[in-house]
Symmetry: C2
Subunit: 330 residues, 2 copies
């Protein structure tokens, strides 16, 4: 099934079921009014929501449906209790290190990098990315993300796969020029990871049985800046740690609350044969080749589009399509 | 006023108003059923809850009240959307560095250290601290924390003080032997910061007008391990960054959601004249004096009590009183 949260002037938005083609949607207040409430009690809600989804797809349900394109989507979970972002494409980390002549610790191939992100700062697929200062080095990061139910502490990587309920794609906005100082302090990202944007819908794992295999999503992730495609790396290739391994890492010493969002980190394929999922990687490739980067970071007004299509070219999660805008404090 | 969340077999618990002496409480479903709902709409709820609190204190409200000691408290916000822990007592960081012959970067005195913590892993004042392995180096960290309303991005440190609505004390459980590897990866704490425990109640800022001054709480924080007091440092002394500065740091590039919890980091006074708020600090002092630490970290069965008392010796937030217990995966 496909689910979204739409703007109803509340902090959590309103849960809707969306059809496969992303054209029609319906509110389901009799099942759950918000996404978090649906996930809090997923065992009870799954079948009910799946029934609505099937009726929506078959056309037998029409009363109360509306055109999905006419509403403003929020992030599917507009505010979440946990957002853990891995860096599972180690080839990307290796490249970044190479560009600054730093060695990649051998342990990075076996021990996942993961940071805790701002789960209260999720924004919708078409929301502006509001940043105060261009000099902070504004970048996008195209990633795959999954959403879990309750995960017990000490879960194994294999068991963890069963806790993945939904898949989606995200834009983990990064402020590149603030990162070096934060990393040097060793306490992780804070100011350098302001907002995270989500595709319009999350898609249940059963809906992706041919694509989401072994804890990886085996499809190209398309990123376009100002209309120009910058990369289409396949998210199923060169993912050193699958989502089961990422979840097990996050849950090693404590449980994860239902609705936890786990990110893959910037999707990248070794050697970047089909381009990149962030500007930083392009700049690293330029630095290795030319001694210095030439592609600038994003400017106010720049547009970023991120999308993933199925085998017949249909959008799976809907498109992230955002502009960077100067933030003016009220 | 004093507020708490009590166990009602839901994830968010039930909001109650507690009297000044922490003896009586009352449910307030007509105002808000959960703490997050109360804070989501604080401007509307503050006066209503304050009225209940005053009636509870004066004894004019008795119908529906119950003995606060008879219920199980959850963390005041059992699951929150944002948990930002600073390390504001830089004297503590300096000591830790000194014990391993590492220099403190000069910038640490002007640029706060802050990590994002597990806001979906908050536990109640009397809950067991469930940890799988003693060898991970189990430690407590006694801290002061504040809870904010909605904070706009780019807030100044001075403006930020107005966004502090509540104060409490917490135990930021740390797994010391997992920290070095995580810090070396630069992505911050993850597995090494499993659970955070909260005092039974949060207290509104107006209630602490003589104690919470200039964004600091000017009272000793008492930590006792297995009944022996290990430290009573004054939280108002040697706090390099006040809570306004910590909030401004967290909100530099994006907004903070109402209900954000900001921690002070381990409370410490220079030279530790009245003891310490964590075992790690004691071990650092031993290392500097004797060349090696002699106090062990916590074992299964160990009890930690954390409390803060007012000028006449009454408990302000109630006592954190927990045991470490071996976690058994179900």
């Amino acid at each position: 099934m496909k689910l979204a949260s739409i703007d109803n002037n509340t902090r959590d938005g309103e849960l809707v079921v969306v059809n496969k083609e992303l054209t029609k949607a319906i509110r389901v207040p009799e099942i759950a009014s918000t996404m978090q409430l649906a996930i809090d009690n997923w065992a009870d809600n799954e079948t009910k929501l799946q029934n609505i989804y099937e009726q929506l797809n078959s056309g037998t349900l029409t009363t109360g449906t509306f055109d999905f394109a006419t509403v403003r989507v929020l992030a599917p979970i507009p505010r979440a209790y946990h957002w853990a972002d891995g860096s599972a494409y180690v080839t990307h980390v290796e490249l970044v290190r190479k560009a600054r002549n730093a060695e990649l610790p051998e342990s990075f191939w076996t021990d996942p990098l993961m940071y805790m992100g701002a789960s209260d700062a999720f924004i919708g697929a078409h929301d502006d990315i509001e940043i105060e200062n261009e000099e902070w080095g504004i970048d996008f990061e195209s990633e795959v993300a999954v959403i879990t139910d309750d995960v017990p502490a000490g879960v194994s990587a294999e068991e963890a796969l069963n806790h993945i309920k939904f898949v989606t794609i995200i834009n983990d906005v990064s402020l590149r020029n603030l990162i070096p100082n934060e990393l040097s302090k060793q306490f992780g990202f804070y100011q350098s990871k302001p907002w995270t944007s989500f595709a319009p819908v999350i898609v249940s794992v059963d809906e992706l049985k041919n694509e989401f295999v072994d804890g990886k999503l085996h499809l190209p992730l398309i990123s376009a800046l100002n209309g120009e495609v910058l990369g289409t790396p396949n998210a199923g290739i060169d993912m050193t740690f699958n989502f089961g391994e990422l979840i097990a890492h996050a849950a090693k010493t404590r449980s994860l609350m239902a609705g936890t969002v786990i990110g893959s980190g910037t999707v990248a394929n070794q050697g970047s044969p089909t381009g990149s999922s962030c500007i930083a990687e392009i700049r690293c490739l330029e630095t290795i080749k030319d001694g210095k980067p030439s592609t600038p970071f994003m400017k106010f007004g720049d547009q970023i589009e991120i999308e993933m299509k199925n085998a017949v070219g249909a959008s799976i999660f809907g498109k992230i399509n955002q502009k960077v805008k100067k933030y003016e404090k009220k």
